[in-house]
Assembly symmetry: C2
Homo-oligomer: 359 residues x 2
């Protein structure tokens, strides 16, 4: 039976990527060496490294003249600290859309003043705050999380501000066409649309580096400038994660790039939301206008059916749809590599489950 992996991350990558990665572990491009045993100072790795950087910039329609690309470690969680450590002098504005931005805010408060904008109405994190009120201010930067995996919320448009703009794009990077040039720093844990866990992508506008904090002593490994000075190879990088990212971004490009995935991902999520709206047993958690195309959260109207639904889904090959432990309910993640076929299977599953109880 085919398994449909709707997990929130680490998540599905294309089968083609798994196959090539598996080959590389045995014999990397007929070098006779495993990708796991090559030196990070070898020409073989350098060309993987360069190619991955190039693909990142190409997909983002950015240039290496204006932007730096780093492949770091420690996940977005480490960037929560690195961003303020490197750039927070006085005051920053953070948009609070729940768990991930809350964590980022907590780390930033260790380094300076943090103003927070959130939706404080009853809906809490199930509805995104209105960002149209952000104009300008004396902020070192404005920070937001473009997609929240836990609640299933996503900003459709890029936030508009006159201040430097920083975004945690961990869970929706490369899933749609946006103007990446609007950001001064973008970071993302790899384990959704980039590659396997263990690598963190950071893209920084070079002119933004003029704004680096000078008065603070920053450990070498947490200092963006030090990584850049060593062309991103300050120490041994996560070789395998970068290699698989290269395979995956190549696949992404070959499929038609971000323009393709923009419409493909919208189509997939549209089908699921439509079914959730129609189906009398289920209801989507998130308000229209705040809904994510990556992570769709929903509830059973009658929660007593929960374990029955999970079991029923599993028996049909549908994996990873249990909601986040902090929120309950269900969550279907529709990252780039999840096929329309899998989505149709989920929709049918919701449909058949309804008939089981309603008929």
């Amino acid at each position: 039976m085919k398994i449909h992996n709707f997990g929130a991350g680490p998540c599905i990558l294309p089968q083609e990527v798994f196959k090539n990665a598996s080959k590389g572990v045995l014999n990397l491009g007929n070098t006779g060496l495993s990708v796991l045993e090559i030196s990070h100072r070898s020409n073989t790795f350098q060309s993987i490294f360069d190619q991955t950087k190039k693909l990142v910039l190409e997909l983002m329609e950015l240039s290496d003249v204006t932007h730096e690309v780093l492949f770091l470690q420690g996940g977005a969680s480490s960037q929560f600290a690195l961003v303020p450590m490197n750039f927070l002098k006085q005051k920053a504005l953070y948009i609070d859309t729940g768990v991930w931005s809350e964590k980022a805010i907590a780390e930033a408060r260790n380094f300076g003043q943090v103003e927070v904008l959130k939706n404080s109405s009853l809906e809490g994190y199930l509805k995104l705050p209105d960002l149209s009120i952000i104009r300008s201010g004396n902020y070192d930067y404005v920070h937001y999380t473009s997609n929240n995996t836990i609640y299933g919320t996503q900003f459709e448009d890029v936030l508009k501000t006159d201040c430097p703009l920083i975004c945690d794009m961990s869970s929706d990077i490369f899933s749609k066409q946006i103007d990446f040039n609007l950001f001064d720093l973008i970071y993302a844990g790899a384990q959704k649309n980039i590659g396997p866990a263990g690598m963190t992508l950071v893209v920084i506008r070079k002119t933004f580096l003029d704004e680096l904090v000078e008065s603070r002593i920053i450990p070498t490994m947490f200092n963006y400038q030090k990584h850049i000075e060593k062309s991103g190879l300050l120490n041994t990088p996560p070789v395998f994660s970068i290699y698989v990212a290269m395979l995956n971004l190549t696949w992404l490009k070959e499929q038609g790039g971000l323009l393709h995935f923009d419409s493909y991902n919208k189509k997939k999520s549209f089908l699921v939301y439509k079914e959730l709206e129609r189906n009398t047993l289920f209801t989507p958690k998130i308000h229209i206008g705040s809904r994510s195309n990556m992570n769709i959260t929903f509830d059973l109207v009658n929660q007593d059916l929960s374990s029955d639904f999970l079991e029923f889904s599993l028996s049909r090959g549908i994996h990873g749809i249990k909601g986040h432990r902090s929120l309950g309910g269900f969550r279907a993640s529709l990252y780039n590599a999840l096929s329309l076929d899998s989505v149709q299977c989920l929709v049918e599953n919701l449909n058949v489950f309804e008939r089981k109880y309603v008929d």
Copy 2:
């Protein structure tokens, strides 16, 4: 032609590990899922995680009652900062054996007073300092690097001190039988005898956690205590690196554990040093008493033969013996997974190369 990988790291791992890792990338233990797409909150991953921790403690003959095991990211280079950030209150003693300890010292100086013990004689880093003079002192801890990959030096015995003892074992961990219970904190980048790059092992004695700095604000991801509170799963861990570490440590145990590799590695390095002493074309860089069993550095008496020797070696399948760019010459790394067969091939290669010029 068989390739003999003498690279300094990321380095050779057992072929059996490559084979199993390659399978896991396609289908992990018949789950139908790739190890690259499983959730770090799944039972499948939890059991890999627990098993890897168990193997670490078993090989070290330590108990989870007295010790904590963490799988972090960012390499030993990040630990250079985390150690003083978490444990340096007033003053620490660092043994300086060259590049790696120098980097650790530079990071520690940001957080407190650092005293340095080094070999300041003419030999510089080619001869290890005499550690017998370290008795006790008002040090928060004593820190040393057990093996230096660049120069090819290695302490045979564990440093003796009354102070808490911290060791960077990146390049010789699990290569020999030692009393791991003598240390309060051990850290090691994975990419030698543990697994692929992208994971850093940290083992901490629980009672040493009473000595954590309290007055300093430490970002969550750089705070050992916070990782321990979340049982090592504070954020998404480097799933694949941990999985391969499990495969490799299982192999290590099955081969006979550290007792086996202790004698096996001594035997391998003995053969190479013996040939280097005998061979009229070559000379080992390091003084007897300071020589590493992991990384053997050597020179050609006539340096004009360098590129000829490298080419000659490559043509016989011998890879990765070019010396570190900062030191020149040659370096053969004999990590656990490098077979006696490969060592014999290297020795023969040195021998045949000699005959080519001397006969």
